[in-house]
């Protein structure tokens, strides 16, 4: 995202710079091309650095909000979720473990889990009200929409296009709509073992297509 900031791009001072817990760390301006290391920023956030938190938000706010919006659809609900996610990042930055993945993945995983929990919670409440029968599965149109979901990111779209139809539907319904694999199976009329396998094949193919390091 773009946002005007008085000091331009910011990045934390290097690890071995003298640090005092009493004074907030200074953020030195960096060359425009220097990528900000989110993992380093999270280390600072864990120590209560609000400027580092702002930098994390500026780097990932659009990713978190967009993902939440994609899953829950409702803009104000998505905003609520984004707020919860970033407060969680602020509170528990100390729990981020670089050995288990990068910072962006960590935050997007938090965001996705919250969005999925929210959509399931809301769905359950709607079901109670409407006595909606899940066994019917979603409308056909809804499945179509999931399959033809338009994504801005060219590479991701191309990689999704490279999946078989069943792989793509399984990944889409689960990831972008918050279905459990059992619900995916039901709505696609496939058995759960098949759906789990399709998800696995799909994600492996996506990983390789996107060149994600294992």
């Amino acid at each position: 995202m773009t946002r005007d900031k008085t000091s331009g791009r910011e990045q934390p001072v290097s690890q071995n710079a003298p640090q005092s817990s009493a004074s907030p760390l200074r953020l030195a301006p960096a060359a425009p091309d220097t990528p900000v290391d989110l993992g380093d920023l999270l280390l600072l956030v864990a120590r209560g650095d609000e400027a580092a938190f702002a930098a994390v938000y500026d780097a990932l706010g659009a990713s978190v909000y967009g993902l939440a919006r994609r899953v829950v659809r409702d803009p104000s609900r998505a905003e609520e979720i984004s707020q919860e996610v970033f407060i969680q990042v602020w509170k528990s930055a100390a729990r981020f473990d670089p050995a288990r993945g990068n910072a962006k993945s960590w935050i997007l995983t938090l965001a996705h889990r919250r969005a999925v929990d929210a959509v399931r919670h809301d769905q359950a409440a709607t079901n109670r009200e409407n006595k909606y029968d899940w066994s019917n599965g979603p409308d056909f149109d809804e499945v179509e929409e999931a399959v033809t979901i338009s994504l801005e990111h060219e590479q991701v779209r191309r990689c999704l296009d490279g999946l078989t139809e069943l792989q793509r539907e399984a990944v889409n319904l689960a990831y972008y709509q918050g279905y459990t694999y059992a619900e995916v199976a039901e709505s696609l009329g496939a058995n759960t073992a098949t759906v789990k396998t399709r998800m696995r094949d799909g994600i492996v193919r996506l990983r390789d297509c996107m060149g994600v390091e294992a």
């Binding site: 995202m1 864990a46 209560g48 609000e50 938190f53 938000y57 500026d58 706010g61 659009a62 990713s63 909000y65 967009g66 993902l67 919006r69 994609r70 905003e79 984004s82 707020q83 407060i87 602020w90 509170k91 528990s92 930055a93 100390a94 729990r95 993945g101 990068n102 962006k104 993945s105 997007l108 995983t109 965001a111 996705h112 889990r113 999925v116 994504l151 801005e152 990111h153 991701v156 779209r157 990944v171 689960a174 990831y175 918050g178 459990t180 694999y181 059992a182 995916v184 789990k196 998800m199 696995r200 799909g202 994600i203 492996v204 996506l206 990983r207 996107m210 994600v212 390091e213 294992a214």
Partner: protein, 233 residues
């Protein structure tokens, strides 16, 4: 027929497990280094899917967040003493990791002991995984204080149960929690822990319940206090 836990890795990365399966899988993850290694790539892939949906949030969100963090306390980094972590006598994932580091430090003399511990650890990990994956796995939960929980996942077919304790209230005066299998009113110690840990208990046949007592550090041969909790088997 057993649930193949490994087949849940991709659904887990896509967040397509219900909450009970998610919890069960996360216990398995603690035991399975291969799963964690493969998961990293899957999670990274899922994050790319998430990132592709990016969309600018309303500008007020940033202001609200910055105002909120100014008054929101943070969790402190968890710096748990090794001794406290390693309270469980059996099946200590973290202690075993520490043991792996110790192999180098202790040198040849300590090697056999450490290797035996690692072997025990591996055997226990496999036993824990087999209970979690058992089709008849059943779960019971007891809560303690604000965040403390003890979960027991038991399987009659495996004749075993896994106890997972997390965030139990801190004990003072060098005391620990001790777990007992009670059969015909006679308790058999299963191990001790301080606040969190995972342990496997074998030989459930004929056992009436699991009891947890508070005991002096190192544990007692017989319970010296009334149980703070019992879980029916």
């Amino acid at each position: 027929m057993t649930t193949d836990l490994h087949s849940l890795l991709a659904p887990y990365a896509l967040n397509a497990l219900d909450s009970w399966e998610r919890e069960r899988f996360e216990i398995h993850l603690e035991q399975c280094a291969d799963c964690r290694a493969e998961l990293a790539g899957f999670v990274g892939t899922a994050a790319r899917l998430g990132d592709a949906a990016h969309q600018a949030p309303p500008a007020e969100l940033r202001d609200r967040l910055m105002a909120a963090v100014a008054t929101t306390p943070q969790e402190r980094p968890v710096v748990t003493a090794l001794a406290q972590r390693g309270g469980l006598r059996r099946a200590l994932p973290r202690l075993a990791v520490a043991a792996a580091f110790l192999v180098g430090a202790v040198g040849v003399g300590g090697y056999v002991t450490e290797r035996n511990q690692a072997d025990n650890y591996r055997a226990d990990s496999q036993a824990i995984t087999s209970v979690l994956a058992a089709p008849d796995a059943d779960t019971a939960v007891k809560t303690f204080g604000k965040a403390g929980r003890v979960r027991m996942i038991s399987s009659a077919s495996k004749d075993s149960a896994v106890i997972v304790a997390s965030d139990l209230p801190s004990l003072t005066h060098s005391r620990v929690y001790q777990v007992w299998l009670v059969k015909d009113d006679s308790p058999a110690s299963q191990g001790t822990f301080s606040r969190s840990g995972t342990m496997i208990m074998k030989g459930l046949h004929g056992v009436d319940h699991v009891a947890i007592t508070v005991e002096p550090k190192g544990g007692s041969k017989q319970p010296t206090t009334a149980p703070i909790s019992t879980i029916a088997v």
